[in-house]
Symmetry: C2
Subunit: 234 residues, 2 copies
């Protein structure tokens, strides 16, 4: 956390993965790891790992490597997992319900505090211990509770409409599952779009290319590893 240069989004997107692997090592009782060993496990490169961590400060020790529990903690704190951002979820359909049941918000820096829907048949029902509220009560709720973030599991049109309302209520983080690009709208809000349809089409595109023997360059994430010659050789 010492450096103050801008962190690139490419680096940020790799952090959760580092965190995941380090937690696994920690749970397996591993106390120490070198960038080389971690890189092999993750299918990335030692250089990239050191460079990435370097953005936030020196967490390792020359000649030793990285202390696994310590590095896991540091990453958790860089990720901000010790926050308890208040989050609300809009849209208790199939996807919304699955997210409520499936995602562990509290170990990822959030507390899910309320769920809203507009369907009278759904309002009042329980999901994972939470009662679904009427979306009509949304603004009052926001005024009183000041949620930090919103999870949008709504159809495109409602999502656009609701996002504006939420933004006006002070919500500055959006986890958006609806089929439109929220990221473009609000300069000072943080948006993470999860476009399942786009993801499925990407898979289709790659399978199609593979079927037709078209070339797609190996993904970012898979290192274009180029074995360097050992120093002493011709």
């Amino acid at each position: 956390m010492s450096k103050s240069r801008k962190i690139s989004m490419s680096v940020v997107r790799r952090l959760p993965r580092y965190y995941r692997f380090l937690l696994e090592l920690k749970n397996n009782g591993v106390y120490r790891v070198s960038s080389q060993a971690l890189a092999e496990k993750m299918g990335s490169s030692a250089s990239q790992i050191r460079q990435d961590l370097h953005c936030f400060g020196g967490f390792g020790q020359q000649g030793y490597g990285y202390d696994v529990p310590k590095l896991a903690d540091e990453l958790g704190s860089i990720l901000g997992l010790d926050n308890h951002f208040k989050a609300i979820l809009l849209g208790a359909g199939n996807l919304g319900r699955a997210i409520i049941n499936h995602v562990d918000f509290s170990s990822r820096g959030f507390t899910l505090t309320a769920v809203f829907d507009c369907d009278p048949g759904v309002i009042g029902t329980q999901i994972n211990g939470m009662t679904v509220r009427d979306v009509g009560a949304l603004e009052d709720y926001c005024t009183a509770e000041k949620p930090d973030a919103a999870v949008l599991c709504l159809p495109k049109e409602s999502a656009e409409e609701m996002a504006d309302i939420l933004y006006d209520c002070g919500v500055r983080g959006f986890w958006n599952f609806s089929h439109y690009d929220l990221s473009m709208k609000y300069g000072d809000a943080v948006t993470e779009n999860v476009h399942l349809n786009d993801s499925l089409m990407t898979l289709c595109c790659c399978m199609n290319a593979s079927k037709e023997n078209n070339q797609i360059a190996s993904k970012p994430g898979k290192p274009r590893r180029k074995l360097s010659k050992p120093k002493g050789e011709a």
Copy 2:
């Protein structure tokens, strides 16, 4: 489809989004669009759009722009949406059920042909018109039906185990929702990982950084647009 150089994954990941915007234009009765106009709509740059499309051939017309329905079709065909890849889904828990109900496979190049689970309480139940099968029958099913792709909505451990079995049965496309990185394993299979936890942590990280006034560079996707001086000026 004329060029034969490798397409980069950065380009491929933008294609579904182009497709989405073009479909919207088409549905709004727009017949013609310039790279400039599309770029403004998408929050990207005209240069990038032309460069991206250029990978696959010349779809536009100088002085006119792009024919919207034609370009949408071309993109659909590059994405391979006219395929009917046979897909099966493993894990009919909250997330699996939501995906079955929520995702329109058929308009994205896939046909969902079967659902498997290991829970006797779930086997035999109906989800969106499909009967959940016993995972014990998986290999026989694959031998008979030769599915092309699998959607993994399983816990980490089962996912690892099942992926190996599926790969041996000839499955070469994976849409992986489980909390581990499938992409690293099989060289000749295509994998699309959807890591909801990682996505949520990324959101947390950015909200945390924003809270603490740390700098994160604007995302790829938001253009670092640098207004160029008009030619004639000093």
